[in-house]
Point group: C2
Chain length 324, copies 2
């Protein structure tokens, strides 16, 4: 295989989504430098890449610019970065509601510093993991990428929107192109957080009972991480604008938390009682139902093969196997 001309920096490189992204980039023959502060991600997930000469890893915290700059500069040597995939962020939304400093630091200042790094290293292309959380609680409205108003109800959503804004302004000054991926709930392995992992862990600890936050009626779309990464790479390859914003998600309206609880229960502990809480929100900043339009991405020529139900059933099996 010819050496690729593309060299990618992946932030949050030891995290859930990075695992699949890095595998796909390496399969393409591209070079990958992964960085992570290892506060939430784990080096174990990167072991499979460690013998690949196209892969390298450095421990660095994107929220600490000096450390970020030094580690990246040192790792690159004479190589030139062509693309940054900025995935580093807080992934614990309720923790960020409790303490706003968490999303300030890990969800926004990481983005700010990545843009600063791109300016210093003259990196042209940014691919950013944004979130449906920027839309806030839309009620019955279906959000497309041009929807307004944007009223995030969690600090996580607020700092993802802040990141998008800073990226947009940077396209006007020093970066050549940015892709903004607005993620739905993404599931699969290696699982680091999320409702399925929570349920699996709870049932392992107490096989007779599964406690659910909220009344189980929250309905959200779920996408499997393999499909998410497929969509990201498709957009990177096919989109041609300087600022490309895409909702990524399944075409269906999603499944309820109750469905997920029942799926995990049926696989792990058929006799367990599922105990629902009150209200249709699991926590402050939780959105009870959510649907957004993915027609822009379909118009670009990509659509998922799995619906939310299929994705949940596959991810439940994968996570149970991983946690066994």
């Amino acid at each position: 295989m010819m050496p690729s001309e593309m060299t990618h920096l992946v932030t949050g490189g030891a995290g859930f989504i990075a695992h699949t992204l890095i595998r796909r980039l390496l399969e393409r023959g591209d070079s990958v430098l992964a960085i992570d502060n290892l506060s939430r991600g784990s080096l174990a997930s990167l072991e499979r890449f460690s013998s690949d000469p196209l892969f390298s890893f450095r421990q660095a915290d994107c929220a600490d610019y000096a450390s970020l700059r030094n580690e990246v500069g040192d790792a690159l040597g004479t190589m030139t970065l062509t693309n940054v995939w900025h995935l580093a962020a807080n992934s614990d939304v309720p923790a960020g509601v409790e303490d706003p400093e968490i999303d300030l630091r890990d969800t926004f200042l990481t983005t700010f510093n990545v843009l600063k790094l791109m300016r210093e290293f003259a990196v042209p292309n940014l691919h950013f993991a944004s979130s449906s959380a920027i839309y806030g609680d839309l009620g019955d409205r279906v959000a497309d990428e041009a929807a307004g108003p944007l009223e995030p109800i969690s600090n996580y959503g607020a700092m993802k929107l802040a990141s998008e804004a800073q990226i947009r302004a940077s396209v006007e000054s020093h970066i050549q192109r940015a892709d903004i991926f607005r993620f739905p709930n993404v599931i699969g392995t290696p699982a680091t957080h999320g409702v399925i992992l929570d349920f699996v862990r709870k049932l392992k600890a107490t096989p007779s009972r599964l406690d659910v936050l909220g009344n189980g009626t929250q309905r959200k779309p779920y996408l499997h991480v393999e499909e998410l990464v497929d969509a990201m790479l498709y957009i990177q390859t096919v989109a041609t604008g300087r600022y490309n914003v895409f909702n990524i998600g399944p075409k269906d309206i999603g499944v309820t938390v109750g469905f997920i609880a029942e799926t995990v229960q049926s696989r792990m502990s058929n006799g367990a009682n599922i105990c629902y809480g009150a209200g249709d929100r699991g926590w402050v900043g939780d959105v009870p139902k959510f649907q957004y339009s993915t027609s822009r991405l379909q118009s670009l020529g990509w659509e998922p093969r799995m619906d939310s139900k299929t994705a949940v059933m596959r991810a439940v099996n994968e996570i149970i196997a991983e946690q066994a």
Copy 2:
């Protein structure tokens, strides 16, 4: 006069808009604590209030939380804040494009810390000076408050949008109410920055020649500061929602930079040559034309008495007199 039950914190208290706001709040019989880091504002503008027992001032930097907290806590003593008017921000948009740290610190982290202060001091009501810059370059579209997408093209606009997002999320958790005022170009005295002051200073320095950034065709709406503050106080008094977003501006489509240059020239130095630059943008992040809808504010029952032209002519006279 009975002592008012309202005690207001005004950040950016030594700045342009705060001057008029503080005067109006004191005239209402409310108590005002003004804070400013005095990096751009001047204490001179606050001298007229210094003998008013309802007024106090502390030097503090909102971007430095420890200083902010200590000064405000010390100044309040046993008083309880009911309202915060957060006006502190970078006001030099091109400087913020050159160095993104400026808007990060002065336009966004000030907001973040003000929200943190409100949480610590249990302050219920926030009134925030946002900006039309959050909309970015709309081309021929007329922005109403629900417009999307929001694509700010300056770091200033990005950090105002980030501020709005963090405020919106805080309404979900710890503040009772927030008013978001999306300002147009605001003019009047005491002038600290802006196109009129620039032109007046240039003509004072070189009476024979007035250099204009850009070709003079940029057209924007202008509002006089007296009317802006009137609208802010009207919204504070009349709006009833928990999160109230209002564009504030004149009803007309605005005047060109060329008109402003000619107005200043005719008052100060009738024989001066006006020398236009190239292009329809004065700087990166400048928007060549801009119009937004103020019909939401009109529906609430407020509208301006001056159009952009009248406001510019009045402000030019006031600024020339002030700078004489």
